[in-house]
């Protein structure tokens, strides 16, 4: 697939590297020649020095005959203009990254479409949704559901004392037929497990299951469900504003921010929310606010390090659930190994959305799940595709992907070796980084 990416910022370069590894044709446009030179020399992609909002630059990049145009410069207005130009030149699908809710408002949908923008990525919104999910289900690390939860993929970190720790995977599968262990994250690495793999303390296990067996899963993993009501947010960032707007009916939010100007602007944007001016790294201040009575602590400042460490502090002070925004991708794996509940990352969320687009998945029903080195996708099996030809165990699937579950008609079910996938099934696929193009071949 021919993909033009406008803007070689953090999101743009991340996407370009990722998609290039997935064997896509990548053109990267930016006006910063030095930044492009590094990417050009080290990755299998082509770069064009030019303005992403100019006809000259986009023509040179071949936006006119690309299948997908992704505008991810730091400014949403630039992205909209870039998409508009690309669409007029002849790009098939255009995607713009936005940073305000305005463009996403259903009332404005047709206007946005007329401007030449087919799809929107709003990483802050996705992050806010992810956090709300984490607050609703305190016992999971990641949560991915299809079709109103007919199939669910849940990532759970195992602690000492969980009943299934130490079991061999095939024994676990034998006694618990309602669960499919799709992947295990262990020591910074995600693996697709085999029957002989053990379940260890500290692993994050990705279970696929159906709605009816969630309670069973909670007890198997030795977790308890906690109700969250009072939430303290550190940093009045864009994610924080989105989060408060999305969840203010369900939760009671307090925002603590050390920028006085920003504090004065926040009440306008965040309804029903208490704003506190101060530094959340100050333990006395946290005690003053009543951190001990808080159910959850969410760190959303611009600094990944600050977010990680304050979350650890909050845990020590007795907060049950913490969420940290970690924008430095290298830190994610480390942060996940620490005692921090959920980690969100805007870049991964954005790239996850693009992956759904690439796979032509019906992303309207799926919620994306962003992991550092793996992807979860929902795909529809086409008639005559390779995946439908024989039972799963006879397909000789590559080792870096697994089929977790499927939805046939209205029914969610798990996939075993004997399952034969039928055309029209919606299949939940868990694949490691770099395996996406293999998935594409299987399903088309």
């Amino acid at each position: 697939m021919k993909i033009v990416i406008a803007g070689a910022g953090e999101v743009g370069s991340h996407l370009a590297k990722l998609l290039s590894n997935e064997e896509q044709d990548i053109m990267l446009v930016d006006d910063n020649a030095e930044r492009l030179a590094i990417l050009d020399a080290n990755y299998n992609l082509m770069t064009v020095v030019g303005s992403p909002t100019s006809f000259v630059g986009l023509r040179e990049a071949g936006a006119g005959n690309c299948d997908l145009f992704i505008a991810v410069t730091p400014y949403e207005t630039n992205n909209i203009v870039a998409c508009s130009i690309a669409k007029n030149l002849g790009a098939k699908t255009t995607v713009a990254r936005i940073s305000t809710y305005d463009f996403m408002d259903p009332a404005n949908e047709s206007h946005v479409k007329r401007m030449g923008v087919d799809r929107l990525i709003y990483p802050e919104y996705l992050a806010a949704q992810e956090i709300i999910n984490a607050l609703k289900r305190t016992w999971v690390r990641n949560w991915f559901e299809l079709h109103d939860g007919r199939i669910i993929l849940a990532g759970v970190k195992l602690r000492q004392g969980a009943p299934i720790v130490g079991m061999k995977l095939k024994d676990f599968a034998f006694t618990n037929r309602n669960f499919h262990v799709s992947a295990i994250k262990r020591n910074h690495e995600t693996i697709i497990p085999r029957g002989d793999d053990h379940i260890d303390v500290g692993d994050i296990l990705y279970f696929t299951t159906t709605r009816d067996h969630i309670q069973e899963l909670i007890s198997l993993t030795g977790k308890t469900e906690q109700r969250i009501k009072r939430v303290l947010i550190m940093g009045g960032s864009k994610i924080a504003i989105r989060l408060v707007n999305l969840g203010h009916e369900e939760f009671r939010f307090k925002i603590i921010d050390n920028d006085l100007d920003n504090c004065h602007k926040l009440p306008q944007k965040c309804p029903d929310c208490e704003i506190i001016h101060g530094d959340a790294r100050d333990t006395d201040l946290l005690a003053d606010i009543g951190i001990a009575d808080m159910d959850a602590f969410i760190a959303l400042t611009d600094s990944s390090e600050t977010n990680i460490f304050t979350c650890l502090t909050a845990k020590e002070l007795g907060v049950k659930k913490t969420v940290a925004d970690v924008e430095t991708i290298q830190f994610i794996s480390q942060a996940e190994n620490l005692n921090i509940g959920t980690v969100v990352n805007k870049k991964l969320l954005a790239s996850s959305t693009i992956f759904q687009l690439l796979l032509d998945a019906d992303s309207s029903t799926a919620k994306c799940l962003a992991l550092a080195d793996a992807e979860v996708a929902e795909l529809e099996a086409r008639p005559g595709s390779k995946i439908t030809r024989s039972a799963v165990k006879d397909l000789s699937l590559p080792r870096d992907l697994t089929l977790a579950g499927l939805i046939r008609g209205d029914e969610g079910m798990l996939i075993t070796g004997n399952t034969v996938i039928e055309p029209g099934d919606h299949v939940l696929v868990f694949c490691l980084a770099g395996a996406l193009h293999k998935v594409e071949k299987l399903f088309n």
Partner: protein, 493 residues
């Protein structure tokens, strides 16, 4: 997430495996001379068949027994592999020369093979015609493979290299200051370039065949001309067709094309003619050829060598294009044109033609940078505070790139002088020593005969041949790829 972090400095197993694939490709190419020998009923088919078997066998062994633990390839792997490929290809490619009906010594055979792969075209054979058809074809094919690049060919045909490791190899092999891609993925770029190359070769074969050449001669000379190599299948070289204006004109056009950036040709073929017009380097290339033609003609007239209109038009033009593109075909009476022409030849060998072509030399791109920068420096003597930039093809070039180019040119000159001095150590006369050194480093391969020292490189002592072979390799891979292997930092963490 950390699985891509390196545990070794150099991923030797992966390099061995890729080398295995490459050797299998070389073995495939060796089948062509084998069948040619069989078709002409020559006994040389046996050495070719055995070499092909040996090369293929080693290739299979390497490719399937290396079992690399990781596919990762970094910059070091790219440099090392690319440099090694050229040496190992020559080591296997020379075997038929050792056992053919007119066997060569080991030094001679290595020189001949390296000279072929690097498209130098300098030969140690005194009487080329005595060789079998198979040997002729193999010499021509070596140039043809080396012309566009061994690695580039591999990138085009082996999909497994279509990742960033392939990128590193591409960067290490392709000529030029910046390595412009013409398509987003490296294998597509390689395919497009090879497609253009193949197309030009086929057209040239047909055109030559229409003239007085036989089909076999057409193939050999087409391979030699488009790759700007310069091996000929006849003892007297291209002079055998001295009377044919047609052959000379066709060769001029295609040698000229061999000196143009293939990315540029690709764009032009796609219908983007403005790219050709806007390209500074291409314009300078044409201009230099024009100026040289005037100077050559004047020199010929002054020496009283004028015989007919051809002697001041086609003949010098042929010689100029052949020299500047580093092909190294010579016309009949080149030797009698005088010392001024010889000094112009020196200049042209140094310049070379456009980067990203099959030609050798320092490349006009770099010369352009050098002159523009020199002009700026002179201007700065008068106006020290002025901000000046080097602009090529309408784009400002960063100072780092300019300094890299100047470093390249300095090392280039040092290597020429060093190589020449090393040759004098073995009693090679001064002028011939420097001419040979220059000729091999720039991959031109103009015969030592021009300076009046012997008929071919055969006359040089063995040690000199090894020195010149090394210079050819350094010149073909544009210095840095080979020399970086000699720095301690390359082997240290």
């Amino acid at each position: 997430m950390f699985k891509n972090l390196r545990t070794h400095l150099i991923n030797f197993r992966q390099l061995v495996r890729i080398m295995g694939w490459l050797l299998m490709i070389e073995a495939g190419f060796m089948l062509f001379p084998t069948f040619t020998c069989l078709a002409y009923g020559e006994s040389d088919w046996l050495p070719f068949a055995c070499t092909a078997l040996l090369t293929g066998g080693v290739g299979v062994l390497f490719a399937f027994k290396a079992n690399p633990t990781s596919q990762h390839m970094g910059k070091r792997d790219g440099f090392l592999l690319t440099a090694m490929v050229w040496v190992i290809f020559s080591l296997f490619g020379l075997i038929p020369f050792l056992f053919c009906s007119n066997p060569l010594s080991y030094s001679d055979a290595f020189f001949e093979a390296m000279s072929g792969f690097t498209t130098t075209g300098a030969t140690v054979l005194n009487s080329v015609s005595d060789m079998s058809h198979g040997v002729h074809l193999w010499r021509a094919m070596m140039q043809w493979i080396g012309g566009m690049g061994i690695i580039l060919f591999t990138l085009a045909v082996i999909p497994m290299l279509n990742h960033s490791g392939g990128m590193q190899m591409f960067n290490a092999e392709v000529t030029g200051i910046t390595h412009d891609k013409i398509r987003p993925r490296i294998s597509q770029t390689a395919k497009s370039l090879w497609f253009i190359y193949l197309l030009l070769t086929l057209i040239l074969i047909l055109l030559l065949w229409c003239g007085p050449m036989s089909f076999f001669e057409s193939v050999c000379h087409a391979f030699g001309a488009i790759s700007t190599g310069g091996y000929s299948s006849s003892s007297s070289g291209i002079a055998q067709w001295h009377d044919s204006i047609y052959i000379k004109s066709v060769l001029i056009v295609f040698m000229f094309l061999g000196g143009v950036n293939f990315g540029l040709i690709f764009k032009t073929v796609q219908g983007d003619f403005s790219a050709l017009r806007k390209n500074d380097v291409f314009r300078v290339y044409v201009t230099i050829i024009g100026i040289m033609l005037v100077m050559f003609s004047i020199s010929i007239l002054l020496r009283g060598q004028y015989t007919d209109w051809q002697s001041i038009t086609i003949d010098p033009l042929f010689q100029i294009v052949s020299t500047i593109t580093s092909t190294g075909f010579t016309v009949n009476n080149f030797e009698s044109w005088g010392p001024y022409v010889l000094s112009l030849t020196f200049v042209m060998m140094f310049f070379g033609s456009c980067a990203g072509s099959t030609s050798g030399g320092a490349k006009i791109d770099r010369i352009l940078y050098l002159f523009k920068n020199a002009k700026n420096e002179l201007y700065r003597c008068l106006y020290p505070n002025s901000i000046l930039s080097v602009k090529v093809n309408g784009k400002v070039v960063s100072p780092e790139l300019v300094s890299k180019v100047i470093a390249f040119l300095c090392i280039y000159m040092l290597l020429t002088v060093g190589g020449g001095m090393a040759l004098t150590l073995f009693d090679v006369p001064l002028i011939d020593a420097f001419f040979s050194s220059f000729s091999c480093l720039s991959n031109t391969g103009l015969g030592a005969g021009i300076t009046g020292y012997g008929n071919s490189y055969d006359i040089l002592p063995d040690a000199a041949k090894w020195i010149l072979s090394a210079l050819m390799l350094i010149g073909r891979l544009e210095i840095f790829t080979v020399l970086v292997l000699l720095t301690p930092a390359f082997w240290r963490r």
